[in-house]
Symmetry: D2
C-alpha cells in the first residue's frame, strides 16, 4: 500500500455526515482504504476515521485543509488530518527499568512502530549505554523535589527543540507536573502496571499480591492532570495464582506491560485513537 | 433505538462506493447508525455493512429494492437487505446433548437472540419434554443409514412449511447430506467442539487429550459440503493441563461451545456476518 | 473413581509435614489421588491438600479424626476433613436476575456441582416458578430497611433447620448484616460483577462504561463484613470496546458472572479452596 | 531462597510413594519447598516433582544418588535429579528471524531464564553481530541439502565439546535429522508458529489466513522424529479478524512466539516439565 492520509472527525451527530465526507473525497479521486464510524448515543457525538490513498488524489495538503475546513465549519466538525509519510516525532521517558524501552526500540527497529524516536529522556543515567547503542540521543535530567520545576522546564525546551509530537512514558517513575501535562494534551502515553482503575498509585503488584487477585493487568492511557485517570487506550491481563510471589507478578507483568504499551503506541501512531472526556474510541 | 434496516454489500473494489451508498441513504433521509467497510486487498473485494434508522426514512421496502437495485447493478454490487423488525425464523437441530440447546433457549428468552425459534428437530426423542416446556414444537426424525435420505426429505418439507431462514446445529450428531446443505447455503450454523482446523471429525476432546494440547477450543461455522471446512464465524479457547481428563475437557468444553455458538447465532441474526469463499467478514 | 476423603491443612511451616501426613495415610492403606502443598514464604505458613481413596483405607471417620487429631496437635496444624460422599448442603440467594441461578441449577442437574441444593431464598417472589419447576423449595423474605433484622433472623432459622453448610449469593441484591456473615464465616460465596478491587459497590457496569475500560470482569469471593473485600476465589474478564453500551456490558457480563460463579462453587464443593486473611489458596 | 535440589519421578502408580519420598528427605533434613504429584489414571502412571532446600540437608549429591537409587530401584521409579546451582547449558539455533532470539537473550540477561547460553548456531551469518554484541559465541553451519549430514555432524561435535544439555530452536528454519534428534531426546525445545496440531508444516500464518480462523497461536514442544508432533510444553493464542493480513498475523504472532518459547524454556530450566509419550506433565 502506498502513502495515505487519515481524517479523524468528531462532532454532534446529524444525518448526512458520512455522505458529505465520502463524497468530498470521491470528488477529488480519493480511494478509501479504511472507513469506520461510531456514535456515542447517550452523548449524541459522531466519530469518524477515514483513510484514503494519496496516489491519484487531487488535493495538496494545503488545499485539502482549506476545502475540507469549509465543510467542517458548516457541519461543526472537529477534525485532525495526518499523513502516513509524516511520522510522529516521539520522545521516550524512562527511569531505571528497561523492559518497556528495550521492547519499544526493538519494535521500532523492525518497523512495527511507524514513528521517529528523537530522544530518550531519563532522571537516571543508567540506561544511557543501551540507548546510545541504538544511535538515539539520551538526556539526563536529575529530578529531585527541589529541582523538579527547573528540570521540567529544561525538558520542555528540549522537546520543543526536537519538534516532539508525542511522549511515551516507558515506566517513567516521576509524576509530571500540570504544566508539563498541559503542554502535551492527549499526547503523553503512559503504561500503568495494573488493570486500572484497580491499584492506582504506587506498587500495584504489591497491592495485587496483598489483595489476592487471580488476574494482574496493565493499562496504557493518556496522561491527564489527575493521576492514573486519563483515557484508556489499551489493557490486558494474565492469570496469577497463590503460588505467584510479588516477584513472579513483576515478571509476568513485564510481558503484559511491554505488549500493552507497544500496542497503544502503534494505535496512536496510526491515528486510530480518538480520546474524548475520560474515554477513547479505538478504530481497529 | 427504533427499527432499522441493514444493507450488506460485496463487490469488486472501486472508488466511490461508500460515497454512492451513503449519499443514496442521505437523499431519502436515512440516519446511519452503523457503517463499516472492509477491503480484501489481495482479492480486490469490497465489503460494506450499513445500518440506518427507518424512522424518517422515505422509501418503502419495495421502492428501496428498486432504487438501490439500479445503483447496485451499475456498480456490480451483490447485496442483501434486512429489517430488524423481520426476525429470522430459526430451526434448531439437536441429538441428546442439551447444553447448547438450553443455552440458546435461555438467551432467546431474555432477548439476547433476536430470532424466532420455530421448531426443534432431533434424531432422538430425549429432549422433547425440555423443548415443549418452552412452548416450542419438537419433531423427531429417527435417522438411520437406511432411512437418512427419506427422513431428510421430510425434514426439508417441514422446514419449508415453517418458512425457515436459518438452521442451527446445537451439537447435532448427524452429518447432513449435500442436498440438505445446498438447500441452505451459508444458512446452517454448526458448533464444532475443537479449535478448527485442529481435530476435525469425531471425538475431538479425546483427540485433544491424546495429543496433550494445553488449550482446547470450540468453533462455530457455516456448514458446507466438506465436513468441518465451512467459513468460521467465531472461535474461542480455554486452558487445560495434564490434570484434565477427557471428562474434564468435555465439561470445560460445554462452557466454550455454548458461548461460541450463542455469539455466532447472535452475529448472524444481526446481519453482521458476510461469508465469502472459506472465510467470513464479521462486522463488530 | 470411588469415594474419597480430603484433608485441608494449614499451619506454621516446618520440616517434615508432608512426610508426617503421607506416612500416616500410608500406614492405614490410603491411596493418595491428589496431593498439593503451598508455602506462603513471607508469612511462613504451610498449606496442604491431600485426597485419598476410601476403598481399602483402614480408619473410620471417627478414628481418623482421633488419630490425625493427635498428629495435628503435636505439629500445631489446623485442619478440615471432608468426604466426597457427604456433599455440602447449599442454599442459594437471589433477587430478580435469574442468569446465575439458571446456570447453577443446570450445572447441578448435569452433575458439575457436587452439592445438595436445599433451598432458594429471595427478597422477591419473581423466581418462584422457575425454582419450583426444578423441585426445589423457594422461600420469600420481603426485606425492607425496617424488616431487615427480623427477616434475616428468620432466614438464619430456616438455614439452620436445613442444616445449611454454604450460601451462594447468585446476584442477591442485599448487603448481609454482620450477624449473618459471622454465622457463616468463609462459607458465603458471592459473585460481584467487576474485576475487584475495581468498581466496588453499586452498578459496576455503569462505572466501567463511564471509565472507558477495555476489559470488564467478574469476581467470586467469600463474603466478609467489609463490602466486596472478602477473599477472592476466582476472577475472569472479557474485552469490551467503545462500541459496547452499558447494556452490552451487562449482556457480556452475564456470561462472565455465571462462569466465574459456577467455577467458584465447584472449587469450594471439591474442597479446593483454603481462605486465609484476605486471600485464598486454590488447589487445582 | 537458597540453593535447592529437584527430584522428578515417574513410575507405575502404587500406594505409599509420596510417603517414601518425603520421609526419605525428612530423614536427612530436607526442607521441602515444592511438592506436586500427578497420576495419569488411564495409564496408571505416577508423576512427582519435589524440591527442597540444600541448606541443612545431610546428603552429598553422590550419597543422595546412591541412597535414593536404592529406594527407586525397590519401587521401580524412574527419576532425574537436578540442582538449582547447576544450570543447564543451552545452545540456541536460529536462521534469520531474530525476535525469539532477542527475547531469549533479554530474558536471560535480566535473570528470568536460569540457564547458561553457551553458543548460538545458525545456517546463516546474519545474526552474528547481534549475538557477539551479547558476548556469546556464534557459529555458522551453512546447511544445504548436500551438506546437511556433514554440517550436522560438525554441529554435534561442537555441542558435545560445549557440554550442551539443551537445544532451543528459536525459529530455526531447518528440519533436524533423526540422528540429531536422537542425540538429544526430549532436550530440544522448538517454537512452532501455530496452535498445533492445526497448521503443521510450512507457512502456518498463510494457512491460517486462508482458512479464515479467528484465533492464531504458537506452540512450544520437544522435538521428536515426527515433524511438529513432539510433546507440547506450552501454547497460547490471540484474536485475529478479517482485517488482519498475513503480515498482521506474522506481527501478532511474533509476540505469541517469543512469550510461549520464553515460558517453555523457563519451565524446562526449572525442571518443571516431565514428557511422557506424546504429552507432558507441567508442574506449576
Amino acid at each position: 500500500m502506498g502513502p495515505t492520509a487519515v481524517l479523524l472527525i468528531w462532532c454532534p451527530d446529524q444525518k448526512g455526515l458520512v455522505a458529505e465526507v465520502s463524497s468530498f473525497l470521491y470528488r477529488y479521486g480519493g480511494n478509501i482504504v479504511h472507513a469506520e464510524q461510531h456514535i456515542d448515543v447517550p452523548q449524541g457525538i459522531f466519530f469518524h476515521r477515514i483513510e484514503w490513498e494519496l496516489q491519484g488524489f487531487g488535493l495538496s495538503q494545503e488545499d485539502l485543509e482549506t476545502c475540507f475546513g469549509r465543510i467542517a465549519e458548516r457541519l461543526r466538525m472537529s477534525w485532525r488530518l495526518s499523513y502516513s509519510e509524516k511520522k510522529y516525532r516521539v520522545a521516550i521517558f524512562v527511569s531505571k527499568y528497561d523492559h518497556c524501552l528495550v521492547d519499544l526500540l526493538y519494535r521500532h527497529k523492525i518497523g512495527e512502530l511507524p514513528v521517529e524516536v528523537t530522544a530518550v529522556l531519563s532522571n537516571h543515567p543508567d540506561l544511557e549505554p543501551l540507548v546510545r547503542g541504538h544511535g538515539i540521543p539520551f538526556f539526563v535530567f536529575p529530578i529531585t523535589p527541589l529541582t523538579k520545576e527547573n528540570e521540567e522546564a529544561r525538558e520542555l525546551d528540549l522537546l520543543r527543540e526536537l519538534n516532539t509530537d508525542v511522549l511515551v512514558l516507558a515506566r517513567y517513575m516521576q509524576v509530571l507536573t500540570s504544566r508539563f501535562v498541559q503542554a502535551f494534551p492527549n499526547r503523553i502515553i503512559n503504561i500503568h502496571h495494573s488493570f486500572l482503575p484497580a491499584f492506582i498509585g504506587k506498587q500495584p503488584y504489591t497491592q495485587a499480591y496483598e489483595r489476592g487477585v487471580k488476574l494482574i493487568g496493565a493499562t496504557s492511557h493518556y496522561v491527564t492532570e489527575e493521576l492514573d485517570q486519563g483515557p484508556i487506550i489499551e489493557q490486558d491481563v494474565c492469570r496469577v495464582t497463590h503460588r505467584d510471589s510479588v516477584e513472579d507478578m513483576i515478571a509476568k507483568g513485564r510481558d503484559l506491560e511491554r505488549q500493552v504499551l507497544g500496542r497503544a503506541v502503534r494505535l496512536h501512531a496510526l491515528n486510530r485513537v480518538l480520546p474524548y472526556g475520560r474515554k477513547t474510541v479505538v478504530f481497529t
